[in-house]
């Protein structure tokens, strides 16, 4: 099912959810946000495709989740001690925060998933409706567009290593660094070249030539958008101020 929510509503929800997971460091909020984000993602996309993509994305990060969780568990010294061996101390608070931080990271990836599905044109229209100067909205949308580009480039270069039969895991640290340099240089130069091309394209389109821009399309908020935005703000304030 395709989303019927306006881009502005999605951005507001994403901002509220990401603020909640950062400000409220408790498991209940984190789980609550995970549930909300999953429902929204399911509404926004074809369900099966989005969940396959998400599990794939989370699979890449599970080591980071685990590492951050273990670090939190090991370095949190306060709270009731559950296990102690010499200087190693595992406390109730450590476990609690370890789980919370891991869940927060999952949440941030889910919320990013909500935002990545929006096209740069939709962002432009949303920012225009909020009267954000075009230069700023252009900057933001360009950055947003670069993230998936970098991801695709990363995949392409990982394949380059496969095709050359280079098994990075078997290399020494020195050689791993050499591989990194050999891969990064073409990426950086390609991006610099891309920036140059984009700047030429901007000039050709007369960027900032006229004080006012016209837009072919316009997005209007529907009744349910107002309702959801209001509900989001209420939930946000409730979670931040009351819970």
């Amino acid at each position: 099912m395709k989303s019927t929510l306006n881009t502005r509503t999605i951005i507001i929800i994403a901002l509220a959810l990401s603020s909640m997971v950062v400000i409220r460091q408790n498991i209940t909020t984190q789980i609550g946000v995970i549930v909300i984000a999953l429902i929204l993602l399911a509404l926004q996309n074809d369900r099966r495709a989005i969940f396959t993509r998400l599990t794939g994305r989370l699979k890449h990060f599970w080591i980071a989740f685990l590492a951050i969780m273990i670090l939190q568990i090991l370095f949190r010294r306060d709270g009731e001690i559950i296990f102690q061996f010499h200087i190693l101390k595992i406390t109730e608070t450590g476990i609690y925060y370890g789980i919370t931080v891991a869940l927060r990271l999952i949440n941030l990836i889910l919320i990013a998933g909500l935002l990545f599905r929006i096209s740069s044109a939709e962002y432009m229209l949303a920012f225009k409706a909020w009267h954000i100067p075009f230069e700023i909205s252009f900057l933001i949308t360009t950055v947003i567009r670069f993230i998936p580009d970098y991801y695709r480039l990363f995949i392409a270069y990982r394949e380059t290593l496969y095709l050359r039969n280079i098994e990075i895991k078997k290399l020494s640290i020195k050689n791993k660094l050499s591989v990194l340099v050999a891969l990064l240089i073409p990426v950086l130069t390609a991006n610099l070249a891309d920036v140059k091309t984009r700047s030429v394209a901007l000039d050709l389109k007369g960027f900032r030539l006229y004080p006012q821009r016209t837009y072919l399309h316009e997005t209007r908020l529907k009744a349910h958008d107002y309702l959801i935005q209001l509900l989001t703000m209420v939930v946000f304030l409730f979670v931040i101020l009351v819970i």
Partner: protein, 221 residues
């Protein structure tokens, strides 16, 4: 006829998208020059990715010399296949064409030798870019980059080559040098799979060709 790939009842679709192949059947011989054509979006590059193990999740079977491709790791596939992708980006590593070839040769595990250096120069000269060997890759034109990518071919003459759209952005001289290289490979009864929109350019070296339409083989000669 010895075959390299035997593809049976292949079905494939990218996650959440429409299917690319429906019941695709074909045999790609180990020797000779095989050309696959098809319009934009017909699945030529996807087929390359499936044959080289870069894409998975298909139905049906792909055999590589009697072994199930799905059961092989990428390292053993790449031991037999040299795949040159269509994209320029992500195909070249390092700073110069010479360094790129050096990485192909040594893979960060072998030491470089004078002989290898000589082979690199020879390979670059076969694509007419020996004078560009130390020029930064970002200063090269698209055509020069394509030539640089293709210059790896002579270094791995014993492998089966899969080349996806090799003539894109190549000038006439570049195409002529590439065809000469493929001709030499053919003389040695070795095999090449070329995926192209311009099969006419390889007519004099083609031993067999397939055409993909609507996810199936529409023509074979």
């Amino acid at each position: 006829m010895n075959y390299l790939y035997r593809i049976s009842n292949l079905e494939f679709a990218y996650k959440g998208e429409v299917s690319v192949f429906k019941d695709l059947n074909m045999v790609i011989p180990q020797q000779g020059i095989t050309v696959i054509t098809g319009k934009n979006g017909s699945g030529k590059t996807t087929l390359c990715r499936l044959l080289t193990g870069l894409a998975s999740g298909y139905r049906g079977s792909i055999l590589l010399k009697d072994r199930k491709l799905a059961e092989l790791n990428l390292s053993s596939i790449m031991g037999e296949i040299l795949y040159i992708k269509q994209d320029l980006q992500g195909n070249l590593m390092g700073i110069t064409p010479s360094e790129d070839l050096k990485i192909w040769q040594n893979r960060y595990i072998d030491t470089d030798t004078e002989e290898k250096g000589r082979l690199r120069k020879e390979a670059l000269s076969k694509l007419g870019i020996e004078d560009l060997q130390d020029k930064p890759l970002w200063e090269l034109s698209y055509g020069q980059k394509r030539r640089s990518m293709l210059s790896v071919l002579p270094l791995f003459f014993d492998k089966y080559w899969i080349i996806d759209e090799p003539t894109a952005s190549l000038d006439e001289k570049g195409i002529e040098l590439l065809v000469t290289l493929i001709e030499k490979k053919r003389e040695k009864s070795a095999g090449v799979l070329i995926l192209t929109h311009r099969p006419g350019l390889f007519l004099k070296v083609t031993d067999g060709s397939f055409s993909i339409t609507d996810g199936k083989i529409a023509g074979e000669s």
